[in-house]
Symmetry: C2
Subunit: 249 residues, 2 copies
Amino acid sequence: MEIFISRNIEDGSLLLDEEESRHCIRVLRHRKGDEINVIDGNGCLYRCILTSDNTDGASAEIIGREENWGTHPYRLTMAVCPTKNTDRYEWFAEKACEIGVDTIVPVVGEHSERRIFKPARIEKILVSAAKQSLKGSIPSVEDIVTVKDFIARDADRTKDKDGKVLKLMAYCFEDENHPRTSIKEALKDMSEGCKDITVMIGPEGDFSKEEAALAMENGYIPVHLGPSRLRTETAALAAVNAVYSHFML
Amino acid sequence: MEIFISRNIEDGSLLLDEEESRHCIRVLRHRKGDEINVIDGNGCLYRCILTSDNTDGASAEIIGREENWGTHPYRLTMAVCPTKNTDRYEWFAEKACEIGVDTIVPVVGEHSERRIFKPARIEKILVSAAKQSLKGSIPSVEDIVTVKDFIARDADRTKDKDGKVLKLMAYCFEDENHPRTSIKEALKDMSEGCKDITVMIGPEGDFSKEEAALAMENGYIPVHLGPSRLRTETAALAAVNAVYSHFML
């Protein structure tokens, strides 16, 4: 099933941008009158009939729509420190999208070696991963932020949601004041009806004690991801899998 | 923690091959008398003292050993059809090793596009993944085999182990005769004390009905990996994560 994306949808009809039009018309040789499937990137799938096969900007008439197409039964924010090697982060983003994630936030920790992050490539990767795995919604990628600023910002976002948000921080060091539970247990223990989950994954050098302490003050639960020693991107995907698996029937 | 590997271990001492010796002596500048950590690839870690810093073949005296170093509490065989793009299979192998897998078997299905498999690169990747994730054991990679031959061979391996092996086949199509359960449920339902698990992951084109039927006849349980539509390598890693997470305390 081929999926196109349009950011230009007005009631009843939509326009494909140049890249999508070229792919649809030149590569896949669709012509006026053909039926195509288009997502808006916000969760909706449109069944359409091409009304123009212009390779610079094809247009289509919407004949059907499906909300929450290929969605998942939770809302997951992954705050993950950039990896030294960008490919590894891009790989994580692609796989997380296939499995089910809503927001990816590159966070820079005090022990992070890599402090820059270029979202452009990741956004392209997420669009094709969403199309490929038949999802109407494309995960959003936020601007890079420090771990401490993210914790503060997230505290605002989640306050007054008493118990309806689960915030987890995965770190490696043992902290006698804050014994870690496994992510599996933390998910089991989360309050009834909670579907909004945030997981923070630290850099190779782990979170700093200060970052961990600040997170705990702001309602984060310290978790481990089991006995294996995982690279940042593997740990991040293991967390996405743990959430996906928790909600699996 | 730097880890070296040696396949040449005799009681009391061991030899590093040329590549490992060069890395140890030339790159990391270790000298006679230094303490190094060496795995045998079969689960054992040796603490050693370098007795020669020859860059062609360094030798060391064993002063301590730890069995089952960095092991996991299950035995997992992943029989996964080769992906069109080799990188994706290599990526799966690396991540599966980090999380915990014992054997990887490339299997060719009737709907497989790719029917060849070069193990050499994967074996190198597994060695560095095992070192990097502090595991004494390196997953073995078997020769490529057809799905049907694998099922027959695996039936021999697992017969008479009544209930002590869980065999799962993940496919996408609905089969009224064999309704699928989720891999999570299948793991929950497995018999007490079972730790030996085999999971088969099909090609992009899925398993054929005949392959699925043969698997069922041979004790495989048909499973799905949840609602998301996953690429072969993502499905394979999701299965490894599901097993890892099942045994997580």
